[in-house]
Each structure stands twice: as structure tokens, then as C-alpha cells.
């Protein structure tokens, strides 16, 4: 369950963190039930990435209250966020793969950080890479892959840990239509299995093919919910 109540975010150093000028998100209030699916829409610069950063705990609210997977993160200590992050899978706009690690090791990383035994890891990662069509590239380094392939590695890494919440920031931006459709099928499948999902996009074509409630942002404010 996710519940935001009058959340504000500023990227300032805190000096004017309370001032209206520094806020890139203001008065954001919404809720997403467990297992819910939401599109996150809005023009470029509206604050989609900023809102996702709050959700995947790369930033903390400057104001208001944010409850993520049942945890009040506005009041939590740093240590409390560590395990919460392991329950959230993120597909970044720019992939954020570790360039010096193989495709296999990139995808295995969340499992290793969670302390999963090495024996289980091998089978799970191999299975996941088959699923995203990269079984033959396990030993490759990310910089040697195409944009679409890197995207699929990022997706595999985001879902390998069977997270309770998946966040995707313009995930289809680097994919062709067939690949984008495949990704949406995967996300829909995970959503059916009970994973909450929020996907930021400005590609309205996707929206038409996969109708779902949407959070609409404009200039840092929530202008539509549903």
C-alpha cells in the first residue's frame, strides 16, 4: 500500500527547503492499494522522475507524509530504508547497470545483496535472462549491448527479487514496438501476481492499449488521479 499525504519535494540543500520556490513537487496526495497499477503521466519536467525517486527511496519528502509498502518513510531512520529498498524493483530511464559487471552479475546483484544462497541465484538468474531473451549474453558486459538489450537487463534486475512494488521510468523509450509490448505483457503478468506497479510515460499509445488508472502531474502538482 502506498499513501502520500501533502508531500512536497525540494532539491535544495534545505536552506529554503520550506520555501515555495525550491519545491519541484507540491501537495502531492494519492493512494495506491496493494496490487494496484498506475500510469504516471505528465509533460517533460512535470516531476514524474522526482515522484518516482520518492517512491524508490532515492529522495525523502521535504514535507508531508509518505507511506510506502506500509512503512512511513518520512519518519523512518536511514537503516530502516535498506530492507524496504529490496522490496522495490526499479527500471531506470538510463538503465543504471554496473558497466564492469557481466549481464549475469548485474541481474544477480539484488539477490546477492539480499543474502540469497549462491546455488539458488544461478538457476533464478539464468531463468530470468532466458525470459527476457538474453540467455546467450550472460557473460557480456553492458557497454557491449544495444540500448534495447541493456533495457532488458535492467528489467530483469528490477524483477529478479520478486519485489512488492515495481517502478518504471519511461521504460519503453528505448524499445521498439514489439519489445515495448512484450514489456507491458510482463508488467501486466507481475501485476496479476499481486505486484503493485507504477509506470511513468508520455507515450499515450501504450495507455490506449493498456488502460489503467493514471496519476497526472503538471508543474509539480497532481492534477488528476484516476
Amino acid at each position: 500500500m502506498i499513501r502520500f499525504h501533502e508531500v512536497g519535494l525540494s532539491y535544495g540543500d534545505g536552506a529554503d527547503g520550506g520555501g515555495e520556490t525550491g519545491l519541484v513537487l507540491r501537495n502531492i496526495s494519492f493512494a495506491v492499494p496493494s496490487g494496484g497499477f498506475r500510469w504516471l503521466l505528465g509533460p517533460s519536467g512535470a516531476g514524474k522522475t522526482s515522484l518516482l525517486r520518492l517512491l524508490y527511496l532515492a529522495a525523502r519528502p521535504s514535507r508531508g507524509e509518505a507511506v510506502i509498502l506500509g512503512h512511513p518513510v518520512h519518519a523512518a531512520g536511514r537503516r530502516d530504508l535498506v530492507e524496504l529498498r529490496r522490496r522495490i524493483g526499479v527500471v531506470f530511464q538510463d538503465f543504471r547497470l554496473l558497466a564492469h559487471l557481466s549481464v549475469f552479475d548485474n541481474v544477480a546483484l539484488p539477490l546477492r545483496l539480499a543474502g540469497r544462497p549462491e546455488g539458488q541465484i544461478r538457476a533464478d538468474v539464468a531463468e530470468m535472462l532466458r525470459w527476457v531473451g538474453l540467455a546467450g549474453r550472460m557473460a557480456a558486459l553492458p557497454p557491449t549491448l544495444s540500448g534495447g538489450e541493456q533495457q532488458r537487463v535492467a528489467i530483469a534486475r528490477a524483477v529478479i527479487n520478486r519485489p512488492d512494488l515495481i517502478l518504471a521510468d519511461e521504460p519503453t523509450g528505448n524499445l521498439d514496438e514489439a519489445q515495448a509490448e512484450r514489456l507491458m505483457q510482463l508488467l501486466a503478468e507481475l501485476n496479476r501476481l499481486g505486484t503493485s506497479i507504477i509506470v511513468a510515460t508520455h507515450q499515450t499509445a501504450l495507455l490506449a492499449r493498456h488502460p489503467a488508472p493514471a496519476l497526472r502531474l503538471d508543474r509539480g502538482r497532481l492534477v488528476g488521479d484516476g
Binding site: 524508490y56 543504471r96 546483484l109
Partner: protein, 313 residues
Amino acid sequence: MARDGVRPREVRLRPAGFDELGLKRAFAPRLLPLLVAAMAFLAALTLVGMLAAAGLARHWREGAGASLTVQVPMPDAPAATGAGSRAEAVLTLLRAAPGIAAARRLSGAELDALLRPWLGATPGALGLAVPAVITVQRAAAAPLDEAALTARLAAPAPGTLVEAAAPWLARLAALARSLEALAALALVIVGAIAALVIAIATRAGLAARREALEIVHGLGASDGYIAARFAARALFLAAIGGVSGTLAALPVVVLLTRLAAPFTALAAPGRLSPADAVALPATLWLAVLPPAAAAIGWLTAEITVRRWLRRLP
């Protein structure tokens, strides 16, 4: 949610050699082992100097505190009071006095040996009248009133002198103690510089791997997990430096110990075979330096990384 029990497990299960932060390349400052080696070299010399000064201070302090010399002129003349010669009467009185553990009259041969370097011949050959010299060991804790003792000894043997062991021994002991303290201070400074060097190298490594750190942090790595990666590497680099610096210092230490041996012998005449007595503990103490360098490396990296990570949410 943050269960402490989970954290050591995740570190153990990490496959050996798995370098998720890419530290083998990003945190491999070639200069670091070299600088730590230089620190270990300095620390080795300082440590040996400190131990030598400590040894000298102890010997000199014991020498200064524990003994008196009593000179009895015309030792063989009959005592003014009581029976026997003056020397015998003084000895009897000394042995009965409180606060005195032992008193022994130096033999003629010992006196000759003591005086020959000054006189160029034995006193007898020069026809000199030599007083009896009695060395007195004081009981450890008991205070001694020298003036009262002198007065008491003058009764059977007027002219008897009581001399507290040379004040220069006390001066030397104080000097050695100061040297010891200075050496300890120098050791602390060398350790602090090593920590500083390691902290700077660690911060450079953190800056070089900032993106990877943010990614791994975002995937749910704890501060302890990330700090442990850096600390393991810092420990390794500092240990290499510590071992090579200490080994390089070893020949110098042995040489210095040889040079210092006569002074140590002077401080504790006849009691030990001086070269060995100083050399052995000093070289053993040097074995502390590599683990100390490794520990400084580990601890500095842990603290530096944990502090740096606080900038991440």
C-alpha cells in the same frame, strides 16, 4: 524491518572475489602501500627508540633510587665507640638501620679496579690512603633520612660520608623518560598521518565509484556492506605497506640496537648481555606494526565510507 541478524550473513554469502563496486580498479592507489610503508618504516625506528629510552629510564631510575654509597676514611683504625675497626662498626650500624636491605664493603681488588682508570695505578702503589667504600641497597619503599644516618655513622667513625647514588642518574632517567614520551608522541603522529593518507585515498575511491555506489545503495546494500568492501581493500593495501615498511626497517633497527648496547650496559652493569636484551623485545615489538597498519587502514576506511554514505538517503 532492519534486522541486524541479516547483515553478517549477506557478507559471508558473497562469492569470493565478487567485486560489485569495481574497487580492484577504482580503489587501487599505487601510492598508498608506498606511503604506508614509509610510515611503517618511521614507526619502526621510533618504536625501537621508544623501547630503548624506556629501558634506559627504568635502569637508571632503579639505579638512582635504590643505592647509597658510604665512605669510611681510615677504615682500619679502631672505632670511636664500640668494638672493632671503624669500617666494621659502620657496617654493623648500617645493617641494623631501618630501610636498608643490604650493605657490602667493596673488596680491595674492586676498589683498585674502580680507581685505576682515574689514578693510572693502584692506590696502594701510589701510597694513597683509601677509604672503605660500602654500597648500600635501600629497601624498596622505605624512606631514608640521610642526615640522621650520617650523624649516626659519625659516632663510631667521625668523617664518614653518605652519598645518595649519583644525582646524574636521576637526571639521565628523566631525560630518557622525556625521550620516551617524545617517541610515543611521534608514533601517534605517524599513525595519524597514515590514517589521513588512507582517508584521502578512500575518498578518492568513493568519488570515482559514486555512480556504482548509488546504484548498489539503491538496490538495498546497507552502509555496513558497502563500507566492508572498501575496508577490506584498505586493510589489504595497508597491510602490504606495513609489512614492506617494517621489513625495510629491520636491518636499521638491528644496527641501532648494536650501537645502543654499550649505554644499556652502563645502565645495568653486569646484569645482562645487553645487545640481546634490547634486540629481542624490540624486534618482537616490530611485529605489531603490520597488523597496526592493517587495522588503521580498515578502521579509517570504515569510518570514511560510513560518513560519506550519510549523504545518500
